[in-house]
Symmetry: none
Subunit: 135 residues, 4 copies
DNA sequence: GTGGTCTAGACCACA
DNA sequence: GTGGTCTAGACCACA
């Protein structure tokens, strides 16, 4: 399991960047989906409570709530009345089927477009990627 | 100069993705900035008219106009008599100074985060990147 | 097309009852779904804007927004950047397939349960239903 | 007395639907009120213990407790030594006075609204109601 | 404690 | 004008 340090110096599963232009709820949603897909969050794993995640990332509970609701309707999360939500078994099965490389695609597209527009060679891009990965 | 084929089958300098979550104006702005920074759009190069770009990408002229105005105030573009915009000399100078790898950074960050959350190895990510690049 | 008069005396497509125990967003969602399913709201019909509906029913725009978003993800509504949402063609097709009686089921269940617990006969229930219908 | 079979296959006086959107405590409260009103639960009849009802319907004892307390304060139930609850004589009297059709009203309203929005005729609605009743 | 609903209201993106 | 995102915060349902 990979832990990250968020903007407030606390260890967390997620990294949210409020300046990226991508809505916070979309960033959070995508990250939970990936962690479930890869099995790093296994079926049955309880997610942080809405309030906890909101405090930890200094965002509004409603934003988290929206993400949890959408992931529930996608079948990635399961809701338990009055108790914490968990990763759904169904979500895990879906994950097993999915090609991880496919989930990477939008990010590859963005990187390739940027690389070409900056007139970099594939070699240069790969080199900087490797440096960034090791960090 | 790299040309791309947009969603409407016409050749264009830019690729706009309305489903990425990133605002259209931000996508366009970033792409013009990169093309200027890399010198693929040289100082003095005229940009497409607002109307032309709007039609080509099926977006509102106001969106293009806003981008052009902001890039003008940043010194990347220059406005001439009529409304003709060109790449500013100043923009080129700024570009020469900038480290291209730095402009790649947000995209590398996004890719690395996605890769780790999908539990992929560096090798796998590099391989899919190479495939995507050659396409 | 049936018009109703809401609690504020204005004609409207929907009737929301804040005291029924059923969340407002759920009432609104179900009603739009039914009007689309029956074809009383045809594909392409623009819906009232979020603000308009919110004002008309004295509810919060966020509540309406939530309903519209969910119906969009269900394929009942279509979103148009910067313009009003419309009934989706897809929604209409789905409607054609659906058995209307099926959508009535939860309400029949509720009525039958109440009738039996009140020890009424089928005849009595049908009679009061007919009276209520004609009103 | 009508008995129903609940979701857990056990005979019970009540049917609770956790997906209806109506709070559980409201469903339970309304059903006890109706059974008392119709005389199917006569004055003096002991109710199931909180614990028993909670287990039978897989809900929290606190939810049942809240319902019993509210019905007691309404005069529908009476609390005896220990915690045994019975139908109050007063509740029966109230029931005798009440017009059963009135208690049916919210359900009739919901059904009529749904029927009209689904563009069904009164005949169709009555027919499906009859089918459902016989089941 | 958990999540759900709703409000009032700010500010942004897009047409 | 349209919808989208986000906040701060109240109050409810349920365990």
């Amino acid at each position: 399991m990979h832990y990250f340090t968020n903007a407030h110096g606390r260890p967390t599963l997620f990294i949210l960047n409020p300046h990226s232009g991508i809505p916070l709820y979309r960033q959070l949603q995508e990250q939970i989906r990936r962690l479930a897909a890869s099995g790093q969050l296994e079926p049955g794993t309880p997610l942080p409570s809405i309030r906890e995640l909101a405090v930890r990332h200094a965002i509004n509970p409603m934003t988290v709530s929206k993400v949890y609701s959408q992931l529930e309707s996608e079948g990635v999360l399961e809701r338990h009345r009055g108790k914490q939500m968990t990763i759904a078994a169904k979500g895990a099965r879906a994950a097993a089927r999915a090609d991880p490389a496919e989930q990477l695609q939008p990010h590859l597209d963005g990187l390739v477009l940027a690389g070409r527009q900056l007139d970099l060679s594939l070699g240069e891009v790969v080199r900087t990627l490797k440096e960034r990965w090791e960090k």
